[in-house]
């Protein structure tokens, strides 16, 4: 992991993540895993395709994965499904204040992939 702002952001969000824990009465959810390193995450959403009203995650995962999940669940709240699906790695890495090294990229991207699948599962308005 590179030094500097990226590292500080990741550690801060790992120690004090936002939206960690289950979302009761979720209207959509998805699970993802990195099969070899063992990161596991579940993203749960409230609302429908017109508007995501709530977003939370549960994870047994590394600091980078949890930081990414924290940022993404904050970001997606209030968005339509269409806008949510436009969130990409550029936004994610900018929010992390740095791009993860290639070997850790999958840790950051796992919550994004999982979020996209949860969004795709949202019910119609």
């Amino acid at each position: 992991m590179t030094a500097g702002p990226y590292r500080r952001v990741v550690i801060e969000l790992f120690r004090h993540p936002k939206n960690r824990g289950p979302l009761h009465d979720a209207s959509a959810s998805a699970e993802g895993a990195n099969p070899l390193c063992g990161d596991r995450i579940r993203v749960e959403l409230g609302g429908d395709r017109s508007r995501v009203t709530d977003a939370r995650f549960t994870a047994d995962a590394c600091a980078l994965c949890i930081a990414s999940a924290s940022l993404l669940t904050e970001r997606v709240r209030g968005m339509s499904a269409e806008d949510a699906l436009r969130i990409d790695t550029s936004w994610l890495f900018a929010s992390l204040e740095g791009e993860p090294p290639a070997s850790r990229r999958k840790c950051a991207v796992l919550p994004l992939d999982t979020l996209r699948r949860a969004v795709a599962a949202l019910p119609s308005a």
């Binding site: 120690r15 895993a33 099969p35 070899l36 390193c37 063992g38 990161d39 596991r40 579940r42 549960t58 994870a59 047994d60 995962a61 590394c62 994965c65």
Partner: protein
């Protein structure tokens, strides 16, 4: 054959040619016994010997002789043996333990479902299978038969006569988080120790039946959720062997406030301090954090997976035997 609790199951094929056995149970010891009170030996009328009331020596031989004699009496179905360990010559050269043991011998008719010992053992096994601690109560000085009850039912009970209460706990369950090489060795060894093992990991290429044929359960998913769903009690030991904080921290957040009997975490002292610091910041108390044995295992010096597994099991045996580990 006696099962893992030392109880008699007449349906076991090993008893096919056995109509009658004598059950010997160690019921008291005035000096340090090499086995726990409740240790059992089964002597078959055919001559077979299963188990032992001591770890060896002359006592078991005397019990076998007494059992053989019991079979020859038509009017006796029970006998209390009092066996002195003060052999004169052995005492002289310092090679005796000293003291007296009492061993209760009970004749058991394997062909009768009404035999009180058979019935008591069957009821005890049903309770143990349900995960409940049980007790087999046997009058020592009267002819009344044995019976089994849930151990909790005996709290505060005052028997009217001298009885032997044989308390039997369900086997230890080792919940092993992290399906690596140490876990593989440990699962094999735990079977020999008659412990249940549950393998937990988030990686389905690691937590496989192929790698863990001896495990009682192999569970893949989010480890903290799997562990949280396990009905944990004092007979549950949780072993964090993933050497990865992504599993250790979420699992610890759950189990530190549960009544499990043992928590161990693989890793250096430095890692243990860092883990405690993180959890202390989240509100866990020093008493709660002190429950975690880390570095896990007794310091036997070995580094190979099997050696580390041995050190972990040694610590677990010590903790559950009331020894400081």
């Amino acid at each position: 054959m006696a099962n893992k609790y030392g109880l008699i199951d007449p349906a076991d094929p090993a008893f096919r040619d056995e109509s009658e056995v004598a059950l010997a149970t160690l019921v008291s010891a005035t000096a340090g016994s090499s086995k726990k009170i409740g240790a059992k030996m089964i002597v078959g009328r055919s001559g077979r010997i299963i188990g032992g009331v001591t770890i060896g020596g002359c006592v078991d031989a005397q019990v076998v002789e007494a059992a053989d004699a019991l079979f020859d009496k038509d009017d006796a179905d029970r006998r209390l043996l009092s066996i002195s360990l003060d052999d004169d010559e052995a005492w002289e050269i310092g090679l005796t333990c000293g003291g007296t043991l009492e061993v209760l011998l009970t004749r058991v008719d394997l062909g009768s479902t009404d035999d009180p010992t058979v019935a008591a053992h069957r009821e005890a096994m049903e309770l143990l299978s349900a995960g409940e601690a049980t007790a087999i109560v046997t009058p020592i000085e009267s002819s009344g038969g044995s019976y089994a009850v849930a151990a909790a039912e005996l709290e505060g009970a005052e028997p009217a006569e001298r009885t032997f209460v044989d308390r039997i706990s369900p086997p230890l369950t080792l919940v092993i988080v992290g399906a690596g090489q140490i876990a593989m060795s440990l699962t094999r060894m735990a079977r020999e120790l008659e412990m249940r093992t549950v393998i937990v990991d988030g990686r389905d290429r690691y937590a496989t039946r192929q790698r863990f044929p001896e495990a009682d359960d192999v569970l893949v998913g989010m480890p903290s959720e799997i562990v949280a769903a396990i009905d944990a009690n004092r007979r549950t030991a949780v072993l964090l062997l993933a050497h990865d904080y992504k599993y250790e921290l979420p699992v610890l957040r759950d189990i530190l406030r549960k009544p499990v009997g043992y928590i161990g975490m693989l890793g250096s002292k430095k890692r243990g301090v860092a883990m405690r610091d993180l959890l202390r910041d989240e509100g866990f108390t020093d008493d709660e954090l002190a429950r975690v044995h880390t570095p896990i295992g007794l310091d036997l010096g070995g580094k190979a997976p099997a050696e580390v597994a041995l050190s972990i099991l040694s610590e677990i045996v010590a903790v559950y035997s009331g020894k400081r580990a």
